[in-house]
Symmetry: C2
Subunit: 220 residues, 2 copies
DNA sequence: TCTCAATGTAGTCATTGACTACATCGGGCG
DNA sequence: CGCCCGATGTAGTCAATGACTACATTGAGA
C-alpha cells in the first residue's frame, strides 16, 4: 500500500458498485472513487480509459453474474419447463433488487450505446439461454400459438419492466406497501399462466387437475 | 428578440426535447441549450432552478401527453374491454418510440428520485386510468383469478419492459431486423391473451372459435 | 411617469473528466 | 548481480459544466 496499491482495478470496481447502489450511477465520480481509495485522481485512468469503460466493465460482470444467478435458480432437477421459465423470471427480478449496481450499470444508456464485444457477448449468452428455456416451455404447451421470438420477448419484457417498476421511486410510492416478493410471484404467475396451458391442448401429457405436477423431462 | 427572448421557457423545453431525442439525457447541458437559443448561459436559471427541474417539467408534460395519447388510442367506441386494454398497451409503447424525449426524461432516475407533487399527480392519473381499464377487462373475463393490482402491474410491466427493450441498442442489435410494429402487436397479444379468456368461463358472451376476428383494425 | 417584478447578462467558483509529463516499483534479461 | 523497461501511480493542467451573485434591461400597471 506504499506506492502501488495492490489491486486497484478490483478495488475501483467494488467501490463503484457500492456508490452506485447508494446513490445511483449519477452519483458516481472517478475522482471521488480515487479519493475513497486513497489514490491520486489520475490513478483510475490506468485501469479504465474513461467513466463509461468502468461502467461497461461492471455491466459485463453483471450480465455474467445474472447468467449464473438465473442458472442456479432455474436448475431445480424436478421442475417442468414452465416452472423452469418462471424460476428464471423470478430470479431476474430478484437479482435486480439484490445487485442494484449491476442492474443500473447494465441498463445505463451510455453503456448500451457504447457496448463493446465482451458486453454484447455476455448479453447474447443470456438471450440464448432464455430462448432455449422458451422453446422448452413451448414444447410443453406454453404459448404454442406464438412465434418463439415473440414469446421470449414477452417474458423478457415482463421481467425487465417489473424490475424497472420496483426500482422506480414514483411507482413504489403509488403502490404503497406492496411486498416485492409477493408482487414478483403474482406477476410471474400471470406471465407463465399454467391455467392457459392446461386449458388449451398440451403437447405433452398433462393431467387436468394437477397444478404443478412434475413433467420429468426438463430439457436442461 | 433583442433583450427579452419572448418565450424562453417554452423554447428551452422544446430544444431540450430535441437534444434528448438525438443524444439522450446525458448529452443535455444547460449551457449548450442557452447557446443554441442565443441567450446567456445563466438565462435558463430564470425558468428552471436546476437541470433536474427542467427534466422534471419535461417528464410531467410527458406523462400528461401519454395520458392523452393512450386515451385517444383506447377510446374506440366499439371495442370490448380486452381490446381496449390491448390498445392502451400498444399506445404506450408507440408513444415511447414517437416521443423519446418524454420517455427518457420520464424514466430518468434523478427525476424519479426528485419527483414533485405535479409529477406524482400526473403519474397517479395514469395509474388510475390503467386500473379502471384493468377492472373492466377483468369484469369481461380477463385474468379473473388474479388480484386487480397484480393484473394491472403485469400489463404495465410488460409494456414498460417492451419499451425499454426497443430503446436498448444492445437488444436491438440482437433481435436484428425485427419490425417494432409487429413486435408490439405480437407481444400485446400475449399479454392480453384472448384465447385464455375464451377458454375459461367468460363473463360476457364470447363465441369460441374466433381468434382475432371482430376487432376493427386498430391502425392509425 | 415612475416603480418594480420579471427576465436576461456578466462574472465567478467548485467539481469533474480527460490529458500530459514525470516518478516509482518490481520482474526479467544481460 | 544489476540494469532496464513496462506497469502503475502522481502532479499539474485545461475545458466543460452547474450553480451562484451582482447588475442591467424591459414593460406593465399604480
Amino acid at each position: 500500500m506504499t506506492y502501488h496499491h495492490g489491486n486497484l482495478r478490483k478495488a475501483l470496481l467494488e467501490r463503484a458498485a457500492a456508490v452506485i447502489a447508494e446513490q445511483g450511477v449519477e452519483g458516481l465520480s472517478l475522482r471521488g472513487l480515487a479519493q475513497d481509495l486513497g489514490v491520486s485522481h489520475a490513478a483510475p485512468s490506468r485501469h479504465f480509459r474513461d467513466k463509461v469503460d468502468l461502467l461497461r466493465t461492471l455491466a459485463t460482470e453483471g450480465h455474467e453474474a445474472l447468467g449464473r444467478y438465473t442458472f442456479a435458480a432455474g436448475n431445480q432437477p424436478d421442475a417442468d419447463p414452465l416452472e423452469h421459465l418462471a424460476a428464471l423470471g423470478r430470479a431476474y427480478v430478484r437479482f435486480s433488487l439484490e445487485h442494484p449496481a449491476y442492474y443500473r450499470s447494465g441498463r445505463h444508456p451510455e453503456v448500451a450505446a457504447q457496448a463493446d464485444d465482451a458486453l454484447k457477448e455476455a448479453y447474447g449468452k443470456r438471450m440464448e439461454a432464455l430462448l432455449r428455456a422458451t422453446h422448452a416451455a413451448q414444447a410443453a404447451g406454453w404459448r404454442q400459438d406464438a412465434p418463439a421470438l415473440h414469446a421470449m420477448i414477452f417474458g423478457l419484457a415482463a421481467v425487465r419492466g417489473l424490475a424497472a417498476l420496483l426500482h422506480d421511486p414514483i411507482f413504489r410510492g403509488h403502490v404503497g406497501d406492496a411486498d416485492p416478493g409477493a408482487l414478483i410471484d403474482g406477476v410471474m404467475r400471470l406471465v407463465i399462466d399454467p391455467a392457459a396451458v392446461r386449458a388449451s391442448a398440451p403437447a405433452e401429457m398433462v393431467e387436468p387437475g394437477e397444478i404443478t405436477a412434475g413433467a420429468p423431462d426438463a430439457a436442461s
